[in-house]
């Protein structure tokens, strides 16, 4: 693959590029789903191609092709240079990139069981058995299960001499029970909604989820929700389960700290950010106990934001985003780092595939564990609501005002978990919410959740991000707003 990459770099240089980098990528994916005891989707795909990014006349150009011959990539590189020169017709300043060393390396994400080597019959049998367990519960009207596996090889080469091969194995799985009764549809998912849990792991992730044992429980909860009390509308104490808190981090911390948003580069689509440059090292983002990092390093865990190098050839790093409640850092790339006085990119350029330009992306944006056991947290809460498993999520285009709803809630009274609540929701303003955090559970309760479906960029790219979180408590939160009436 490096021969083709080098041919592309050579052509770009001859055509006038002052810098070029190339990603050859080979993506393989398998999707399995079941619905109501029948196989739903059963599909496999592979895609291989090359994406060429060049800097010419001080402006960017990018072209991609799946024609993997020397002639094909040379034409593609020439097209990229031509596009860059067209970009220069409407440039303001020449692009300046923070320096970065050249690296020659190879890395593979660790996994124990290659899911593409596990017999399909075994995988389907597990899904169908979980499906059957859910259908065995009276009142369940729809059952769904899924597994997804991806193997991604990428070969990065740059005109400054980097040659980096990375192989990532990604696994995801989940189950859902839905119940329609009267005028209400209720749903429960495990281990998370919208496709379940996803991680940079092999088939061992599926085995660790124990889908079969959880299937009857979530089916029973989906049915029981119909008879549960409606979540009240009030201002009060909220405890968020880990997966819901992971999405809260994603939306109200991860996106606002993306420097391309801050600088207006996403103003037309994904939006901008309230975290203007004057806020760095000054804003009290959260309470003292809140520490958030963006950590792509393998030692942080096997998350969807874990890698050895980003797609700009920058080594994985850990960046303090919030430290003891103070706003400390953005996610940057080589082009934007110098604009905020950094000497180096924070290593967050990522691409969905060979035919997409790398853009600034979350890596693993995680809330570091606190000190509480979950039992102590509940026992310490006199009057509150525990909410688990996301049902809807929405936040404004500058990331101030959000509203989330979850599949299920539990009343907490006098330090004990009480009755089930249906249709739970909460809302708030980002910094007010994070400043109201007064308890975070310890590492034993911490999970690196995977968000496989983060959309950003034009053309749109979908990326997986990781979010470590443990159950946490927030005070004076607006609860029940999604179903409020004036």
């Amino acid at each position: 693959m490096y021969d083709l990459a080098s041919a592309a770099l050579d052509t770009a240089k001859i055509r006038g590029a002052s810098y070029a980098d190339v990603r050859v990528m080979h993506l393989r994916q398998r999707d399995l789903t079941t619905k109501n005891g029948q196989v739903g989707t059963l599909a496999q795909s592979e895609s291989i191609g090359i994406g060429i990014r060049v800097l010419a006349s001080g402006a960017w150009g990018f072209a991609s092709t799946d024609r993997m011959t020397r002639e094909g990539v040379a034409a593609c590189a020439a097209q990229a240079v031509s596009i860059a020169k067209a970009s220069a017709l409407a440039k303001r300043d020449d692009v300046v990139m923070a320096p970065e060393d050249a690296y020659v390396d190879s890395w593979q994400s660790p996994f124990r069981k290659d899911p593409f080597e596990i017999p399909l019959e075994t995988q389907l049998a597990l899904l169908l058995a979980a499906d059957a367990e859910m259908r065995g519960v009276k009142g369940v009207t729809l059952t769904e299960t899924d597994m997804q596996f991806r193997k991604i090889d990428s070969w990065f080469a740059s005109s400054v001499g980097s040659r980096i091969h990375q192989r990532k194995m990604i696994t995801g799985c989940g189950i859902v029970a839905t119940s329609f009764q009267g005028d209400e549809i209720q749903k429960r998912s495990y281990p998370n909604s919208f496709g379940g849990q996803h991680a940079l792991q092999g088939y061992e992730l599926v085995e660790s989820m124990d889908l079969l044992n959880h299937a009857p429980r979530i089916a029973e909860e989906a049915v029981a929700l119909h008879a549960a009390a409606q979540c009240p509308q009030k201002t009060g104490t909220l405890i968020l389960g880990g997966s819901q808190l992971g999405l809260q981090i994603h939306e109200s911390v991860g996106h606002p700290v993306e420097l391309d948003r801050v600088l207006g580069q996403e103003a037309n689509f994904a939006g901008t950010s309230f975290l203007t440059l004057d806020q760095l090292n000054k804003l009290r983002y959260a309470s003292d106990i809140v520490n958030v990092v963006a950590d792509a390093r393998p030692e942080h865990g096997q998350g969807l934001g874990t890698f050895a190098y980003d797609d700009e050839g920058v080594p994985a790093q850990c960046t303090d985003v919030i430290k003891a409640g103070q706003f400390r850092g953005y996610l940057s790339n080589r082009e934007t780092a110098h604009l905020i006085g950094l000497q180096r990119s924070s290593g967050t350029m990522r691409t969905e595939s060979w035919n997409r330009l790398p853009i600034i992306r979350m890596t693993n944006v995680s809330l570091l564990p606190g000190t509480w056991t979950f039992d102590d947290l509940v026992a310490d809460t006199d009057d509150g609501i525990l909410m688990e498993t996301n049902r809807s999520w929405s936040i404004d285009d500058r990331r101030y005002q959000f509203q989330f709803s979850t599949e299920i809630g539990w009343e907490i009274k006098g330090g004990k978990r009480g009755r089930m609540l249906k249709n739970p929701s909460y809302s708030g303003i980002t910094t007010e919410f994070w400043n109201s955090c007064d308890a975070i559970c310890e590492r034993e309760h911490w999970t690196l959740w995977g968000t496989p479906n983060c959309g950003k960029g034009q053309p749109m790219q979908t990326m997986g991000t990781g979010h470590g979180a443990s159950p946490s408590r927030f005070r004076n939160v607006r609860i029940g707003t999604a179903f409020s009436e004036q």
Partner: protein
């Protein structure tokens, strides 16, 4: 197997002719037959697209891609599965067939699986515009430059995209079905920012000549200026005037509920509601791929011809759309709205056309004692699937209307609003236009004046 892709200098790639796509299909069918596959279906899709992206009054990203995907579905003994590749040499195509077969053999039989359809008669549509296909990066850059120059002149900041694409698709199967389609597509979208305010305009069309980037830039610029000094209003129920993009992005969440499979799965808000007065009498909706403002192939993922379907007649949901399987389950005819198999969702209407009215935006404003004019909506998600309560934000231009005229800008609101209730409360309709937003696929929808729209909270800008 090679396709026509000129390698000359910096020329844009050219799409292969339909006969070349057919040649790939024929190769797959021949290879599949040679290894004894009972039934085979092949889709070939080729896309050549380019997108120029600008922000801070300059181009900052500028991309192009050329992709070909071949997707093979084999069917043996009541089992089926799909394998997709972007390599079109014979060895790779054979590998895709074998991968599909291997997947298919691994599952239990599905007694409801239908044999592949035979030849179909499909009405043609012509939506390929050479001028759009020939658009060059320099053409896009010059248009962007003019829009950015306007922003600089007005003391504003522009961000957006100018894109163009050509796609062609073909599908065939071992029972003799063959059909093909190609189109072009151009999009210009612009956000103008002034101080802390912003506004937005966007259009898309098969013919780039139907898009006037400078007119859109001027519209966004003028609205961004009017959007400054936004007032904070109290949340509550307001009369709203939703511009077509706002209507589109909200009602776009309704139409998966018109899938017969969704009703059979009891996940549709239309369960127990078909044939009842669910919406106002001024709401009628058809799905019509042949409408002059629509784009898209006149056949579905199974190769069935798309039919015009009356979904809502004067407020009453009348008909659903059907794939072959969901139709057979209830002894109906397929309507040509099925997704590629295998899948668990069945089908959906994809070419929606609302019956509009005659009211202009100015007339809607003039008739409003107190209300809000909404440019677009953002981050819309479903809160309640049966009552179809959606949440989301207003964005890029919310304006207070008092005594028949726009009096000021307003800070953005969060809404929690049932679409079903909303479509019972429509007081005025504009002419239906091809609208484009960011949350839903394009449809032909009107601007709407709606009473009692529920805003639950306000944000800080």
């Amino acid at each position: 197997m090679t396709m026509t892709r000129k390698s000359g200098a910096a020329a844009m790639p050219k799409a292969g002719a339909t006969r070349e796509l057919r040649s790939i299909i024929d190769t797959v069918l021949r290879l599949a037959k040679s290894i004894g596959v009972a039934e085979t279906e092949v889709h070939v899709d080729e896309t050549i697209s380019a997108l120029t992206r600008f922000a801070n009054n300059a181009i900052h990203q500028n991309v192009a891609e050329h992709t070909v995907n071949v997707s093979v579905r084999t069917q043996v003994d009541l089992r089926t599965a799909r394998a997709t590749t972007n390599r079109i040499d014979e060895d790779s195509l054979r590998a895709a067939i074998e991968a599909s077969l291997s997947l298919a053999h691994s599952q239990p039989k599905n007694p409801h699986l239908l044999p592949l359809p035979g030849k179909q008669r499909c009405r043609g549509v012509y939506r390929f515009i050479r001028k759009t296909a020939a658009l060059r990066p320099e053409d896009r850059a010059r248009a962007v430059r003019r829009a950015c120059d306007l922003a600089v002149k007005k003391g504003q900041t522009a961000a957006g995209i100018f894109s163009s694409a050509q796609t062609q698709s073909a599908m065939g199967n071992s029972r003799g079905l063959f059909t093909a389609y190609r189109d072009t597509h151009a999009v210009f979208s612009i956000t103008m920012q002034e101080d802390s305010a912003a506004s937005w305009a966007k259009e898309n069309a098969a013919d780039v000549a139907d898009i006037d980037p400078q007119r859109l830039a001027e519209r966004a610029s003028e609205k961004a200026h009017r959007a400054t000094d936004a007032r904070e209003l109290a949340p509550g129920r307001y009369t709203v005037i939703l511009e077509p993009a706002a209507v589109l992005d909200l009602v776009g969440f309704l139409f998966y509920d018109f899938a017969a499979t969704a009703l059979q799965d009891k996940r549709s808000c239309l369960n127990e509601r078909m044939g009842k007065h669910v919406f106002g009498k001024n709401i009628s909706i058809v799905d019509d791929v042949f409408h002059p403002l629509q784009l898209g192939a006149p056949y579905d993922g199974e190769g069935m011809p798309r039919q015009r379907v009356l979904l809502v007649d004067r407020g009453v949901p009348k008909n659903l759309v059907y794939s072959r399987a969901s139709a057979k389950a209830v002894k109906k005819k397929p309507t040509g709205h099925g997704f590629m198999l295998p899948n668990e969702y069945g089908e959906a209407p994809m070419n929606l056309v609302f019956s509009g009215g005659n009211a202009s935006l100015d007339q809607m404003i003039a008739s409003t004692e107190r209300g809000l004019l909404v440019t677009r909506l953002w981050y819309i998600r479903e809160v309640d699937p049966y009552e179809k309560i959606m949440t989301g934000m207003t964005r890029d231009g919310l304006f207070l209307v008092e005594k028949g005229r726009v009096t000021s800008a307003a800070r953005n609101f969060r809404f929690n609003q049932s679409i079903l209730e909303m479509l019972r409360n429509v007081e005025m309709l504009g002419p239906a236009v091809r609208a484009t937003g960011e949350e839903a696929f394009e449809m032909v929808v009107p601007a709407m004046k709606i009473r009692d729209f529920h805003f639950s909270e306000v944000t800080k800008f």
